[in-house]
Each structure stands twice: as structure tokens, then as C-alpha cells.
């Protein structure tokens, strides 16, 4: 049986909790699709772990809102916050449902992944080639979001996944990167990683 973390009230600003729930729920969707389509069990398990973290955040946020509401006016002002937080929780649940397809050994038809990789333009998995200009560079040096509107959401090196890798992490030959973002940026990123595109254009 799954372990449930004990919930105790902690004074954390609502804004921080909501921000983390929003960021995590969006990251989880992309990770979950990646796990399902690339049939990656470890990545799927990471998504399930994140989901239970989001559950904890949802409890904490609910408590914050209860403490903050003193009258009917507060309640009206805060109901929107709790509805949106609930929706982010639902999104992270959906991500966990997708991950469960992999962890429960159902899997998606291999042809799906094959076709998906051809038609999906916003999410790719790419291996860093030895000729890539990215090798040896820190992620922040690549300036990916500003330059091409993409973001590395997971990095696999020697069997371990790093989720949302640190900006100071240096890219190495053989790293497997899951990247999401704008279709054109994704295309450019793939060429950079595979060493087909030789320079970072501003």
C-alpha cells in the first residue's frame, strides 16, 4: 500500500503553494506523456511520486485558505483560489493516470510511440551526440527558453532521471534529454543535440 505523509499545518503563503502546484502539474503532464509514449517505467514512477507531493500541497493550501477566511467576503474572494488549486490537483491526477498505464504494465501500442514521435511537435526525447555544441555547457548558458522557447524537463544519465534539471547542470555526451516547447524551437534543439546544427544562433 502507498505511504501517506502525515499532514500538519505549516504557515506557507498561499501564493507559494499555488505556484508550486501549477508548475508541478504542468511538468507532470509532459513527463507522464513522455513516460507513456517512450514506455519508461522509472519516469512513470517519478510522476507518481510527484503526484503524492501535489496531494500534500493541496491539503496544506486548503488549510491556509480556511485559516485566512474570516467572513463571507473573504470566502467569496478565496473560493476561486481553492477551485483553481483543485483543478491543478486534478491535472496532476490525470498525469498520474497516464503514468499508471506504464507502471501497471499496460503500455501503449508501440506503433503509437512511433507515429507520435513523427506528429508531435512539442515534446521530444533526444540523445546528446559527441559533436553537439551543447556538450560541456551548463543548461543556463544555453539560454533555451529565451533563445528558442524550449525547456529541458528531464535528463537521464547512467540510468537515473533528473527531473527539471538544475540550471547549473553541465550537458554530457550521451545524456538523454526530454524537452518540451515551441515546435520550431524543438526542431532546432534536436539538431543542436544531434550535432547537425553547429552554433547557437541568437
Amino acid at each position: 500500500m502507498r505511504h501517506f505523509e502525515k499532514i500538519e499545518y505549516k504557515p506557507i503563503p498561499v501564493r507559494e503553494l499555488l505556484l508550486e502546484m501549477k508548475n508541478l502539474s504542468e511538468l507532470m503532464i509532459d513527463l507522464a506523456y513522455s513516460a507513456a509514449l517512450f514506455n519508461d517505467k522509472e519516469l512513470a514512477e517519478d510522476v507518481l511520486e510527484l503526484e503524492s507531493h501535489v496531494d500534500t500541497l493541496a491539503y496544506l493550501l486548503d488549510m491556509e485558505i480556511m485559516v485566512a477566511a474570516r467572513d463571507s467576503e473573504d470566502a467569496e474572494a478565496l473560493i476561486g483560489v481553492s477551485t483553481v488549486a483543485e483543478a491543478t490537483d486534478k491535472i496532476s491526477d490525470a498525469a498520474a493516470d497516464i503514468a499508471a498505464i506504464v507502471t501497471q504494465d499496460i503500455g501503449v501500442h508501440p506503433i503509437v510511440s512511433e507515429i507520435f514521435e513523427k506528429v508531435e511537435e512539442r515534446l521530444i526525447k533526444v540523445k546528446v551526440n559527441e559533436n553537439s555544441v551543447m556538450v560541456g555547457k551548463q543548461i543556463c548558458e544555453l539560454n533555451l527558453a529565451a533563445r528558442m522557447g524550449v525547456d529541458i524537463i528531464a535528463l537521464r544519465r547512467n540510468k537515473d532521471w533528473m527531473l527539471n534539471p538544475n540550471e547549473t547542470e553541465k550537458i554530457q555526451v550521451g545524456d538523454l534529454l526530454i524537452t518540451r516547447g515551441a515546435p520550431l524551437g524543438i526542431k532546432e534543439f534536436k539538431e543542436l543535440a544531434e550535432g547537425k546544427l553547429k552554433e547557437l544562433v541568437e
Partner: protein, 199 residues
């Protein structure tokens, strides 16, 4: 798998990708509707939710009527579950937009969280000296220049969903989503000399 089978499969996957892309667009639009307290954008999300429901049904029917072999059943089940989860994401987006349609003024905390998130939505106004003026969205290449996607154009109090051939006019307000890093680039592109803040 036969050639015909392969073709059918491609059709199912394409349907799924559209389901996935639409559910993600709905999330962006739902957050935008909250940030801007915009009924129009919230209504757009509700319309897309109806579209997703239809898309989802078509997708399931296609998957169920494809002639799969017994040993492929699991793979098809996985595909169907993928569709169910994607539909759930679209539902969640519709619930967010519903807050606006119920006349609940979005709390400042919500706006802050949306603005500070890794993926954010923003609005900028187009001034007369912007290189974007009189260009179609296709020509403007906003996406290539800034990494931001244009979700909607506000003009004369109305929100339009962008099309490739929509021409950008001075005074337009562009609502866009993307990584926070692109916001400044977009502002510079839309209003190069003056600081112009949409109300």
C-alpha cells in the same frame, strides 16, 4: 500490420495528438482568462471543452472499431486510457475558466501565481512603430522571435482567436503564453519605443 491497419492507426494517433494539443491550449486559455478576468476567453475554453468531448468520442470509437488482434488489446487499452486522462485535463481547464464565468473576481494571489509561474501568460499592446503592424500572424513570426505563442488578439473590446492570415493592427492587445523569459522580447517587439501597458 497491414497497410490499411497502419493507416487507420495513424488516424487514431493524429486524433489523440489533437486531443492533447487542445487540452493544453485550454489550460493556457483558462489561466489567461483568470489573469485578465476575461469572460470571452473563459467562454472560449468552454467551447473547446465541448469540442474535446466530441473529439474524445470520435477517438474512442475509432480505437474500438479498429480491427486489432487479441495480443494488441493491451496496447489499445493504453491508448484509450491516455485519451481519458487527456479529457480529464481539459475538464480541469474548463473548471478553472468557470470561476470567471461565475462572476468570481480572481484573487490577486491567483494572478501573482500565474504571472510568476515558469510557463506564464501575458498581454502586450501593439504600438504604431512596432514591426508587427500590418503583418499577418504568419509573417510576424512572433513565435520564432520570442518563443511566445499568441493565444488571442484583443481588438475593440473583442477577443479574436488567431488565424494565420489575421493582420496585426496598431492598438491590438496580444495575449500570449510561453516561458517567462520570452515576455520581455515580446514587449520589445510589440511596443518598441513607448512603454504601453494594457489596462
Amino acid at each position: 500490420m497491414s497497410e490499411q491497419g497502419q493507416k487507420r492507426f495513424e488516424e487514431i494517433v493524429e486524433r489523440f495528438v489533437e486531443l492533447k494539443d487542445t487540452s493544453e491550449l485550454m489550460m493556457d486559455l483558462a489561466y489567461s482568462s483568470l489573469l485578465l478576468n476575461s469572460r470571452e476567453l473563459a467562454e472560449e475554453v468552454q467551447k473547446l471543452e465541448e469540442y474535446v468531448d466530441k473529439l474524445h468520442t470520435d477517438f474512442e470509437l475509432l480505437a474500438l472499431t479498429s480491427d486489432f488482434k487479441k495480443e494488441e488489446a493491451k496496447g489499445f487499452l493504453g491508448l484509450i486510457r491516455l485519451g481519458v486522462a487527456t479529457e480529464k485535463i481539459a475538464d480541469a481547464a474548463a473548471e478553472m475558466a468557470e470561476v470567471v464565468l461565475r462572476g468570481i473576481e480572481p484573487h490577486s494571489v491567483l494572478k501573482l501565481a500565474i504571472e510568476e509561474a515558469e510557463e506564464t501568460v501575458t498581454q502586450v499592446c501593439v504600438t504604431a512603430d512596432s514591426p508587427l503592424v500590418n503583418k499577418t500572424l504568419k509573417e510576424a513570426r512572433v513565435h520564432e522571435e520570442t518563443g511566445m505563442w499568441i493565444l488571442a488578439i484583443k481588438r475593440g473590446g473583442k477577443s479574436l482567436r488567431p488565424k494565420h492570415d489575421s493582420k496585426i493592427q496598431p492598438g491590438d492587445i496580444l495575449i500570449a503564453s510561453g516561458y517567462a523569459d520570452g515576455v520581455e522580447d515580446l514587449e520589445r517587439l510589440a511596443s518598441p519605443s513607448s512603454s504601453c501597458t494594457p489596462e
